[in-house]
């Protein structure tokens, strides 16, 4: 990978990804499997070969047209990819927490609002606010990851992002989730760590 030119690298990656994608989605995979265990009927083979050939041609055409859209070679890409893979389990755990959080707030009896009498919330667990904060993140990919992570973690949803200064507008359903972003900044540090930016 070290001596490979940028174009060859993206062509190769695109080819491999598209082929795996096709193999996973195509019913022909079953036929190919049958051929190797010797169960495929002889009359079917020309048909399978025709479909296989057209698939290879299609993959080749798509690769030539769109390999530069699919992937760009970046510095230390492998390290970023590994760190992203380590980040995903934490994110999945956060999604679970977020759902339990919303479910709790939705079902909590104190958040009942009597419809017509212009109801008040009493001491229910909802106290929405819009917060703003700036981050040190600058690249597109890290900002997208951060915005999606905010939306998926408990109690907060991204409203707007201003890329040049890394500023986020976030709607928070109560005080605590917003403070976690403003004061703690653990998520921002995690995303900066993944994309090798200054936290």
């Amino acid at each position: 990978m070290t001596r490979m030119s940028e174009k060859n690298f993206s062509v190769l990656i695109t080819l491999v990804v598209l082929t795996i994608f096709w193999l996973l989605l195509s019913p022909l995979t079953v036929d190919i499997y049958k051929y190797f265990i010797g169960e495929l009927h002889h009359e079917e083979i020309p048909h399978v070969l025709f479909l296989l050939g057209s698939a290879i041609i299609c993959i080749a055409i798509v690769t030539v047209i769109s390999h530069d859209l699919m992937i760009k070679k970046e510095e230390q890409m492998w390290l970023k990819f590994k760190r992203l893979l380590a980040y995903i389990p934490w994110e999945l755990y956060q999604i679970l927490l977020a759902n339990l959080d919303v479910a709790y707030r939705a079902i909590h009896p104190k958040s009942f609002v009597s419809g017509r009498s212009g109801g008040m919330f009493g001491v229910g667990p909802i106290d929405p606010e819009v917060i703003q904060f700036e981050t040190t993140l600058r690249s597109d990919l890290s900002l997208v990851t951060m915005a999606n992570s905010i939306t998926l973690t408990p109690g907060t949803i991204t409203i707007l992002v201003d890329p040049p200064i890394g500023k986020f507008w976030v709607h928070s359903i109560a005080k605590a989730p917003g403070d976690a972003l403003l004061v703690d900044q653990s998520m921002q540090k995690k995303v900066a760590h993944v994309y090798l930016e200054e936290g």
Partner: protein, 108 residues
């Protein structure tokens, strides 16, 4: 009857029930929360996990097959598309000036 089959079916049913619980609480939140933004909190989050849990249940039920691969892709794209859709609606409302509900105000 007893054995692996029973365990697999039990896990699948458990995943379905948990997924349905999250979908259900999302629907309750959608009806009870006071304004546009808080309602999006309910639908945007609970739907993601509820749908993914149900899909994971289907994957386990079907075992290792081409259908499972397709379902796995479906859950992956849902994980990407759901926050993006929620964010798009949030932004549209905020830019056109829908005022966020504050504690103590009447329900919208």
């Amino acid at each position: 009857m007893f054995g692996l089959d029973l365990i697999v079916n039990g896990v699948v049913v458990a995943l379905f029930v948990i997924g349905l619980f999250f979908m259900f609480s999302g629907a309750i939140g959608f009806l009870r929360f006071p304004d546009f933004y808080t309602r999006l909190h309910a639908t945007g989050k609970c739907d993601t996990l509820g749908e993914i849990l149900i899909i994971v249940g289907l994957i386990i039920y079907d075992g290792l097959s081409p259908l499972s691969a397709k379902l796995l892709f479906l859950s992956f794209f849902m994980l990407l598309a759901n926050p993006a859709g929620t964010h798009a609606m949030m932004k549209a409302a905020y830019v056109t000036g829908v005022r966020p509900w504050k504690r103590g105000e009447a329900r919208q």
